[in-house]
Amino acid sequence: MSNDMIQALRVAEAAVFAATQPVTPRMLATILPENTDVDAVMGALTTAYAERGVNLVQVGGGWQFRTAPDIAPHLRKVVELPRRLPRVAMETLAIIAYHQPVTRTEIEEIRGAALSQATLDLLLENALVTPKGRKETPGRPTLWATTPAFLAQFGLNDLRDLPKREELLIDPAGPAPAPQPASVFLPEARDEAP
């Protein structure tokens, strides 16, 4: 590896390490020496960190270091964890992600249930969704869309990283999503109860 390449790797590594937000290729281009092949540098860096406790990932259109998922159980001993999103919120989020921009009424039609204030508040508090204009229909209802924080939260580089609808429906009797009757005893399930 040339000295120039090593130096470019060090600068890119430091820049992504120091930032709070994903670092865009454009930002890297201003920091790295002119004529640096940003893709090559970031590719080499990704490989260098692939097996480490910290990984380089592409999220929200930029680069960010994150701890490796398999280390999480160790870190949870010392890190205070936020509450995971309840199923209702996850489903609402999924509808917004796939149908954006989408009105509240449209969300309710797809889920076949009313959208509670608590669910909307939860998504807004976590900055996962945001209003994005109004639909030019009677009443001019607010349109909802996902945010860059949504991409960062789920480690997506782009909305196109979401699986296609057809891919989702390959296994109609898929295991995970079946609602367990037992879930009624979870507090979040009551939120949306008719």
């Binding site: 390490f17 120091a18 930032a19 709070t20 960010q64 270091f65 994150r66 701890t67 490796a68 998922p69 999480a72 870190l75 890190v79 964890l81 936020p82 995971r84 199923r87 209702v88 996850m90 489903e91 989020l93 999924a94 509808i95 992600a97 796939y98 797809i110 889920r111 076949g112 249930a113 009313a114 960062a152 939260q153 789920f154 480690g155 997506l156 979401l162 699986p163 609808r165 989702l168 429906l169 109609p172 009797a173 898929g174 995970a176 999503p177 079946a178 609602p179 009757p181 879930s183 009624v184 399930a189 009551r190 949306e192 109860a193 008719p194």
Partner: protein, 249 residues
């Protein structure tokens, strides 16, 4: 079919569509190929069971039940209605169930992603190399103008307008001065000698001259003194009338 459990746990379902999807899933076939009739019967059975336990069942459950009852009757006796309508209704219901199923899969897919702040963590203590340059000024014309107006308004509110006090010599004061000074001055004294001392040049002095002249004319009319001006714009001279008369006579 765990009808009893479903009845008891109806509130666990997020609306009628949620329950329908769950019932469809229990048929263990592709949702696109489920028997709508069988599904409707199961749903109505669950709702009927629930109504026996709880009479107050939310409106949207009952609306769905009513609509499904209609659909069931048409499915059983197709010749009563227009077959296309019934087929369309059944297809719409199946499509909505597929949509909900897709949504559920998408939510599950998102849910198993490593989530930031739970499964993966960003750098806890980022370093900031940003320096702030505050040397430049941010100024705008609107700010300048409003500052000017504010200054003028405030100054105006503080000091109310008062006319400048009159410092000019009044005719009454001039009468007093001439009366007091008349005996002490030499005969035919200049009118200007009756002016108070320390008058400012310009308007105050000219005003005093005018007042003294008016006072002099007033006293001449009363016969208390004599006024004389030898030529146009020449000095006006004043003398004690009584003394003059005595001299003349």
């Amino acid at each position: 079919m765990e009808t009893e459990a479903l009845v008891l746990h109806l509130e666990g379902y997020d609306g009628p569509l949620d329950l329908l999807l769950e019932l469809a899933r229990t048929q263990k076939v592709d949702i696109a190929k489920i028997s709508i009739l069988q599904l409707v019967e199961q749903f109505l059975a669950v709702i009927e069971g629930a109504r026996r336990v709880r009479l107050e069942l939310a409106a949207d459950w009952l609306v769905m039940a009513a609509w499904l009852t209609w659909l069931k009757s048409r499915l059983l006796v197709p010749q009563l209605g227009e077959p296309e309508d019934v087929e369309l209704a059944a297809e719409t219901l199946a499509a909505r169930l597929i949509d909900l199923q897709a949504t559920r899969q998408a939510a599950a897919w998102l849910g198993q992603r490593p989530q930031l702040g739970w499964d993966v963590f960003p750098r806890g203590e980022p370093e900031d190399f940003t320096e702030t340059d505050r040397s430049k000024l941010k100024l705008d014309l609107a700010g300048l103008l409003s500052a000017y107006l504010a200054a003028r308004r405030r100054a105006g509110a503080k000091q109310r307008y008062r006319p400048k006090p009159m410092v000019y010599l009044s005719v009454r004061e001039a009468l007093d001065r001439i009366g007091k000074l008349l005996g002490a001055l030499p005969d035919w004294a200049s009118l200007e000698q009756f002016l108070p001392e320390g008058l400012e040049e310009g308007i105050p002095k000219r005003a005093a001259i005018a007042a003294t002249l008016i006072a002099g004319l007033e006293m001449a009319k009363d016969g208390r003194l004599n006024l004389r001006q030898d030529r146009k714009f020449g000095p006006i001279l004043v003398s004690n009338r009584t003394e003059l008369e005595a001299g003349d006579e």
